[in-house]
């Protein structure tokens, strides 16, 4: 071990911390960039919420927001939260940190490709950041970038901002394709002796399923993005009807990617929950195999649901019902996963430290997100709620649940492994209750606004007579959203304070079974002193043959029963 630590010290600052090929450093880099963008995305949300509650008044700490700036805020908030927060944190950070550790490998299969991946993402982030400051401002055609609005600068008044938006996304996709190649190759080729595919922690299954979904779906969108850029820059007409193009082509290409993309984000978040629930229930996960089959089924179904985003887009109405049926059917595999999680709690021995609170919070919030998806999936109901705040509330319940609740659960849970210190429990619990309470306050209000008919992406609801009576609900959502943002302060304090002054963590502070807990905290370069040998599945908690209520995957033999 000491030899390895020495190697790390000899690498110096640049090779050790900046241009590092170590998956753990790369994970922390993804985490840092993701958290930076989360703060930016959160502040954009604050500006939007203020404008909606008190239209055309000066935002405290910022100033006046006009309708065109508001349109940019909407666009960039969505883009940032999906592609620059959810992806780097859930896949970049947790995938990179945990996959090699959980499969018992010393690093990723292609460490240099991994470094290229994170630096491509850093470049992508830089391009996106620059796009805010070019003349005309950042992209303002919605995060879905529907043409013709996005295809001609005159329609939005945004010129290079939108070109850079396309470029940033292209770089981002390249980065995560490289990451996905690593996730898959590492899982398939570098598993420790004895670690069969059906002994893998479910988080690894979720990550590699997500990687496959991303690879299979992103191609059409990249093609679509190239065509969009050509429409903008060299005057082609792929999406412009005056030149023989069709705007709906983009919607098909975008949502063919867009719906699997939802699961690319969702599955790693569910994976975090599936690791945490058994640890703090001291029970094996209920239905390991059904969960894997459900995941694969949901992944396959996600490729045949995309047109539910287009029920009223001018699509042939006869196509709506097949897509409506596949969409509503996707509730079955996710229902099975939720039931499996609840069955895991049954007759457990449940404790409630911060990671468990956030995992249970994810479950409750995701449940609402899943159930409200049925409304959107029903084509006739979608006629009314499409493009209203009902949809906004729905996808925040699904995506906020994994991007923030599950990611927080994961950070509190693996922080000791990542940084060698424990986070503070009191601040953690305070953070959870503030987040849980105010999240629900914000987005329940948005469900009601959506039922009232309030459209997405409007800058001023007071311009509509039928929305004016709903304005108190907008004010309520805004106040709650500011409190939700302020509720993140305990986390920021906790994170940085624990980094330097937290209680020093032992190797396995949660008494968990998976391989990462057999490595030192934090694991040195090369992870393990000796490559572990795996004897059993990842969730052997409260096994009757051992006196303790956990049984690590790499503990050699089960002592005889009757102890």
């Amino acid at each position: 071990m000491s030899a390895r630590v020495e190697v790390e010290e000899h690498m110096g600052f640049w090779r050790g911390y900046v241009f590092s090929t170590d998956h753990k450093t790369i994970a922390k880099q993804y985490l840092a960039i993701g958290l930076f963008w989360a703060i930016v995305g959160g502040l954009l949300a604050y500006l939007m919420r203020w404008q909606l509650a008190y239209p055309d008044t000066e935002v405290p700490g910022w100033g006046f927001i006009g309708a065109d700036f508001y349109t940019m805020l909407v666009t960039m908030h969505g883009t940032i939260m999906v592609f620059f927060v959810a992806m780097p944190i859930l896949l970049g950070a947790f995938g990179n940190f945990l996959i090699p550790l959980m499969v018992g490998a010393r690093d990723m299969a292609f460490p240099r490709l991994n470094m290229l991946s994170v630096w491509t993402f850093a470049l992508s982030s830089l391009v996106l950041l620059i796009s805010f400051f070019v003349p005309g401002g950042a992209a303002a055609a919605g995060w879905t970038g529907y043409p013709p609005l996005s295809a001609k600068p005159i329609y939005t008044g945004v010129d290079w901002g939108l070109n850079l938006w396309i470029l940033a996304l292209a770089l981002e996709f390249a980065s995560f394709l490289m990451g996905g190649v690593n996730f898959l190759t590492t899982t398939v080729n570098l598993r420790a002796p004895g670690l069969s595919m059906l002994r893998l922690p479910l988080l690894v299954w979720m990550q590699i399923t997500a990687a496959v979904l991303f690879m299979l779906s992103v191609g059409p969108l990249i093609a679509g993005a190239v065509m969009l850029l050509m429409d903008r820059v060299v005057g082609t007409s792929f999406y412009l009807p005056e030149g023989g193009g069709d705007p709906l082509l983009w919607q098909h290409l975008f949502w063919f990617f867009g719906h699997p993309e939802v699961y690319v984000i969702l599955l790693p978040g569910l994976g975090i929950m599936l690791e945490i629930l058994p640890v703090f229930s001291r029970k094996p996960i209920f239905g390991y195999r059904p969960i894997i089959y459900s995941t694969i089924a949901a992944g396959i179904l996600s490729f045949v649901v995309w047109a539910h985003h287009q029920f009223i887009s001018g699509l042939d109405p006869r196509l709506a019902m097949p897509f409506s049926i596949t969409t509503i059917f996707i509730s079955v595999p996710f229902a099975l996963m939720v039931f499996a999680m609840i069955a895991t709690l049954w007759r457990g021995s449940i404790s409630f430290p911060t990671p468990m609170l956030f995992a249970l919070g994810t479950l409750a919030v995701f449940l609402v997100g899943g159930l409200t998806g049925v409304f959107n999936g029903s084509a006739p109901v979608d006629i009314y709620i499409h493009d209203t705040y009902f949809v906004v509330a729905h996808f925040h319940y699904t995506l906020f649940s994994v991007t923030f609740f599950a990611a927080f659960a994961g950070i509190y849970f693996w922080f000791p492994k990542m940084f060698g210190r424990m986070m503070n429990e009191t601040l953690g619990k305070l953070h959870f209750w503030l987040t849980f309470l105010f999240f629900n306050a914000v987005f329940v209000a948005m469900f009601l606004l959506g039922l009232g008919g309030m459209m997405r992406r409007i800058a001023n609801p007071m311009q509509y007579d039928f929305l004016q009576p709903l304005q108190p609900m907008n004010v309520f959502a805004t106040i709650a959203s500011i409190l939700l943002l302020l509720g993140q302060i305990p986390f920021v304090i906790n994170f940085f304070w624990s980094l330097v002054a937290g209680e020093v963590a032992e190797r396995n502070p949660w008494q968990a079974n998976t391989l990462e807990w057999s490595a030192p905290s934090p694991p040195p370069h090369g992870n393990f002193e000796i490559v572990p040998v795996v004897y059993r599945g990842p969730y052997e908690y409260s096994h009757p043959s051992v006196p303790e209520d956990w049984l690590p995957q790499d503990r050699p033999a089960v002592p005889t029963a009757g102890v």
Binding site: Y155, V374, M455, Y464
Partner: protein, 223 residues
């Protein structure tokens, strides 16, 4: 919930709302049941000294029935919602009923242009009438709307009628409604269409039939 949905003033609005309530009660029941069981488990099986968790994997068929059977019930309820949805979808979006009045609505940044064919019932003739953002229809008559767009995608939204249909440049998309209650209702644009999206709206005026005839007389005195 009913107080949050705007009043429905069309012949099919009630059908759409009925599907909404069907899903609301089905998912509401699942929500209460699922969260209730979860909270019950969290309280009942919280960590206590001297009690050990039950070692059970749930991989055998008999055990996984605990999740598969509820999953099957979810599937059956999905079918129920799908069948009811298909009926209403067919009514609203399927074969269009024969219309009493035709209007062309052309969207552009950031207005609705409403074109009436006039007494001859033909578009493109001298008696066509174009109004900005004003749509006048009689109650109890089927109105057929042909949606077009001059620039970007807009979405023709009549919240009280429960109608929403995108207007896509390069296409002519047909929609219809039959209003039941006279009054003045807003027609917001529901698809982001640029910096003027917020505030892009028109007005639907539903007249009682006799009043509508008076309005027609005012507009086309010669008819």
């Amino acid at each position: 919930m009913s107080s949050w949905l705007p009043e429905s003033v069309s012949t099919y609005g009630g059908d759409i709302d009925a599907i909404f309530y069907l899903i609301y009660y089905v998912t509401g029941a699942w929500f209460v049941l699922t969260l209730g069981v979860t909270i019950l488990f969290l309280i009942r099986y919280r960590r206590r000294e001297g009690r050990r968790a039950t070692y059970v994997h749930g991989n055998t068929l008999a055990q996984s029935a605990w999740i598969l059977v509820p999953g099957l019930i979810v599937l059956l309820m999905d079918f129920w919602i799908d069948f009811r949805s298909a009926e209403v979808w067919a009514k609203v979006m399927g074969r269009m009923p024969s219309s009493d009045l035709r209007v062309q609505v052309t969207a552009k940044q950031f207005n609705w242009e409403m074109v009436y064919p006039g007494p001859d019932g033909q578009f493109g003739t001298a008696d066509d009438l174009q109004l900005e953002n004003e749509l006048h229809v009689p109650a109890g008559k089927v109105v057929r709307v042909t949606l077009k767009s001059k620039d970007v995608i807009h979405s023709f939204f009549l919240p009280h009628v429960r109608l929403k249909q995108d207007a896509v440049p390069g296409r002519e998309i047909e929609a219809w409604f039959e209003a039941t209650k006279p009054g003045r209702y807003e027609i917001p644009c529901a698809e982001l269409c640029g910096f003027g999206h917020s505030g892009m709206k028109g007005w639907l005026t539903v007249h009682p039939p006799d009043e509508y005839q008076k309005w027609v007389k005012q507009r086309w005195p010669s008819s």
